[in-house]
Symmetry: D2
Subunit: 359 residues, 4 copies
């Protein structure tokens, strides 16, 4: 079987394994206090043009989200998120378990707007008894979103403005950050994120690392005592250097962006093949996740060879799936998939072709 | 410098890196649902002679402790631990942050007794208002302890009996489990632990892995819904197989025990050299951590070549240090250290030799 | 000014103050272990026809909700509530702060249905990775709802069935229980609640007491160790008897139901006056809270004499308000209000009369 | 039976019940936003000579402690307390359940010292990895202590200095504050507490109120958003005025201090009688709690008439008990107790008289 269901089916990019092997017998300090973590942090700060930022390395997305958001919040404060946000749908209530409500806003293509956030804040502060509901404090965005879509720089700037107006933190979940940064049409850079966010993270797990997320914290208020949070939440590895070494490999000569670009290119091929086959899409994504709506009989045949993630039943004849590429996706597999897509679509009657508009 | 300060200065045993490289491009399911995690779990269950147990793989010690202890506890229940227990001294209050009090009992050589536990339970239940204090629910032990010492099988059986009498869970922190299992004089086996504990973990990070702890859960009450806890607490890796692969390597042909045995042997050499040099010990440890009390001038000279962990000032002329070996400790380095110890001790006046008895 | 904005503007029913005064110098045990708490508990169990139930007395609604729901939930479990539920809108995230997500379902007239709950459970358990989202465990209903509406016995039975099918607890918030039990058309009794719920509470604060809520727990699983929860959450009064004494007064000869009936009667008069004035209602409530939609100019004049709670702006000419009666509402004040309503409505042009249908 | 076991066996001082009755039918705003709460707060601020302070009214001691300490603490911060502190021994782990460790220091006569606190902070900050243990943030003292003893003004000033040096909050639990303020030899005033503490509370429950504690918050950092904490933790009463009314009664003409003085006077009589009977004391208390050590046979006879709290078995012939007086203690009962004490002590052999020195 060829797996296109997610972007973490394989191990790490080979150069990461090589770096781990080369340095394996060196003796270094533990808990992220080693030279490799320091080098990787410096490198990332440079790329972010954020010399005052702090960079910390954690293990995975849920861990990173719950740790950063704990640092952002007093017990009575809430986190504003798209209803489709990862913290709201795939983290087993980790945020609530650290004591905070998620104010889930309706999303369009996985995104929320500055206006929605401003409206929520206004409603809170204009209430006769604001203290009867959680106080909005942090905006959580994903870049790209769960649906592979992107915020524009202008949209982020507008959200930043609302954050400034309402004394909110802005935190961007970048589990798939590279795929967003290298996407066609994207106008957001690492430096933009460092300038606009109070904290964000650069996802490694889903872009070539064995595991690891690099948290960038430009806001000094959130820097303070952050290592207490990492340790307390179980995110501080004794052999912390294995995270630093991976990010060093990914960033010392542009590997991270190359891997992300590759995945996006592969996804673009698949997207085009779906379009040519006449399939609609649940969301219009420029990144490594594609959400085509496929006739069930076509899907059944494809699934004899390929593994996809089922997203939802559209009607009794069509399903939306997620096709996901990664750094490890082989061009020959994508070639084969596009051929199979074209062939199967042709065999299928025209009546199957639907034009889907998301409600 | 030669580092003897801890057992996580290096990377992983080379065979682990090889296994990761060999399997790197295979595609597997995520989140621990892959064949390697399953194989490793089966293997561990066999070695534990516990076919009904469940085995889960987590990233590090603090994470494992806070996750298992959350699963053991209702909000009003407490965890009984030696005052020197890792959860009480080196985890930033992680247990309290999940809502539970640690009832820290005075320890002798890092250990607590069945009698102490029974006494605490009796005091709780005989109080006129037991509901005014946290209800004791789980006993947390470390094997080996923070001081490298070991519980005997008889001591564990006595503690198990008290747990049965008082409806308590018994959880053993095995961050350094292998060093205990292979220590001279030890009479406890994996199968014993599986028979006596409700849950325990087999530490990988400190015995040859890059990261990873294998939680063994014989008690079905704790098995229920355990994956919710792992996910919620941030311990579920997307590429979960990197944990399974490491434990498979460590256990498929006895590597884990070999590595632990090696470290213990190296530590025994150092222990003997310290004894011959006339140094007393803070604790009498048969495992990979040794706690000699060394004249400060000897220590100062050793520290030009070697890195140790300072434990405490004994008096103005002597310090207790921790010397730690690991799977990666080289015999030639230990040889050199023992020679240097002997030489420096000889040069030092007899007046420096103290006979220390721990109070 | 005459206050109709809520049902807790006054102190307690005079007979409660008398009872407190009569018993004031008696010496009793503290923390709810006194004869009065025992008598009140026995009385309530009899009225509930639930000899096996336990009854505990707490101080207020938020405290009761957070305490009972903590007892219902493991850390990874969620509470299902109408989006308009008190725990979701007026308790400052108290439930999340104890670690649990509220799964807020869309409501109709403040109510949710058995079908919605069943659907949510089905979606959870059919997910490939149910452990990635909080596990639904407890259904939270209010009787009456925040909008003064009532569940029928049949609706509650259907919800109970879904709870049984999905291993859920059912908890009913009865902050205004008496107003529901004595409402026209209601077919639910205390005994029904005791038979259908795992826990529910009988609100005292809003029906004649100074403070106090009586929690009735028919399910023995939730009875276990409940006093630990009360104490830990700060709900156990040293002079606990002041709660027992109040509930004894309210229930020893039917005072509670009389007070509730009085408030409902007063509300019915106001409702009728609003209907006769041609005003629509935001919700159709048979209890002590009425939600008429009133022309802003009429409202402005009324508010020179009366205090109401503003609920929402309907359009630029109309507002929905809450008019609330209580045990202390005086018939002469209601009489005056109905006269004023009729007069002002007549003076207002017919064009103001809108027929509002809640979307 | 005559109860001397605690200071909350009766209801409220009659003038409090009168005040509640007089104002009973007045209509006021809820949730502490009424004129009586405002008046009581103003009065207390004046008595504290702290015009910038905020005063809030909560229901009970555990609730107050957990609410204030939550406001003082970030998730990784700890509370320093005497091991005998109420939060450490009688609150079911409420503080840990809000996520914080209590650093329990050994006490002498229920008190801790500035030196102990300074030492703990020094040890934390000098550790190589301070982030591996909870960061000390708040000092929790009780005035009087659980043993009825008092800090001198000089001792409090020294502790304040250490707090300033280490960026700590100082919070004083005044559940029995009046008994301390009116004790012979006390040199601490309300104004001193307001000047030295970041927050403290004036206990009402144990000094004449039905329930209620007045939290005084001089530090503006802790004032911010404090009502969110009260509401979220379940401490905000709908009929909040019943707390304001009680404190108004207690403080508008000195009643609070008179009641406390009376209890202290009664306790002094009993203390003297115990001394004359030759009994030693577990602690030397100048306040309303006395801890005599009494021969078991004397105790057995006394307990046919009087109720005491058993504190601990001293040896097989003697027990330490707590004798507690309150505003409601009748002089004639104390007179009878002192007569009985004298008589029974005389009948008892001299060999029973022990001179106990607390270790």
């Amino acid at each position: 079987m060829l797996w296109f269901n997610c972007d973490y089916n394989e191990g790490a990019h080979p150069r990461i394994l090589e770096k781990l092997a080369q340095t394996n017998l060196e003796q270094t300090a533990g808990y992220g206090n080693d030279p490799y973590c320091r080098q990787a942090a410096e490198l990332i700060k440079q790329l972010c043009q954020a010399p005052q930022a702090e960079v910390h390395f954690l293990c995975g997305g849920t861990q990173t989200n719950l740790t950063v958001l704990a640092a952002c919040s007093r017990p009575y404060q809430s986190i504003i998120s798209a209803s489709s946000g990862h913290i709201n749908v795939h983290e087993t209530g980790a945020i609530e378990t650290t004591g905070h409500r998620i104010e889930a806003l309706p999303e369009i293509n996985g995104k929320i707007t500055a206006e929605q956030i401003a409206h929520l804040c206004k409603a809170h502060w204009e209430d006769d008894n604001p203290e009867f509901s959680p106080q909005p404090k942090t905006v959580y965005l994903s870049f790209p979103t769960e649906y592979g879509t992107l915020y524009t720089k202008k949209e982020l700037e507008a959200i930043r403005q609302v954050c400034d107006d309402n004394n909110l933190f802005l935190f961007v979940d970048g589990a798939r950050l590279g795929y967003g940064l290298t996407a066609p049409g994207n106008d957001v850079t690492l430096a933009d994120l460092a300038a606009l966010c109070d904290a964000f993270y650069i996802g490694g797990t889903k872009i070539g690392a064995l595991l690891g997320e690099a948290v960038v914290i430009p806001n000094s208020k959130l820097q303070k005592d952050f290592r207490y949070f990492i340790k307390q939440k179980g995110g501080m590895l004794a052999k912390g250097r294995i995270l630093g070494l991976q990010f060093l490999t990914l960033f010392e000569d542009g590997l991270y962006m190359q891997l992300a670009q590759h995945a996006n290119d592969m996804a673009a091929h698949i997207k085009k093949a779906c379009q040519q086959a006449g399939f609609a899409f649940l969301y219009d994504s420029p990144t490594n996740q594609q959400f085509p709506i496929i006739p069930n009989d076509v899907l059944a045949q494809l699934e004899q060879t390929y593994v996809f993630a089922h997203i939802k039943q559209i009607d009794h004849k069509h399903s939306a799936i997620r096709i996901c590429t990664s750094w490890a996706t082989r061009p020959e597999d994508v070639e084969q998939l596009t051929i199979d897509l074209a062939k199967l679509a042709k065999e299928t009657h025209a009546t199957h072709r639907v034009s889907f508009i998301k409600q």
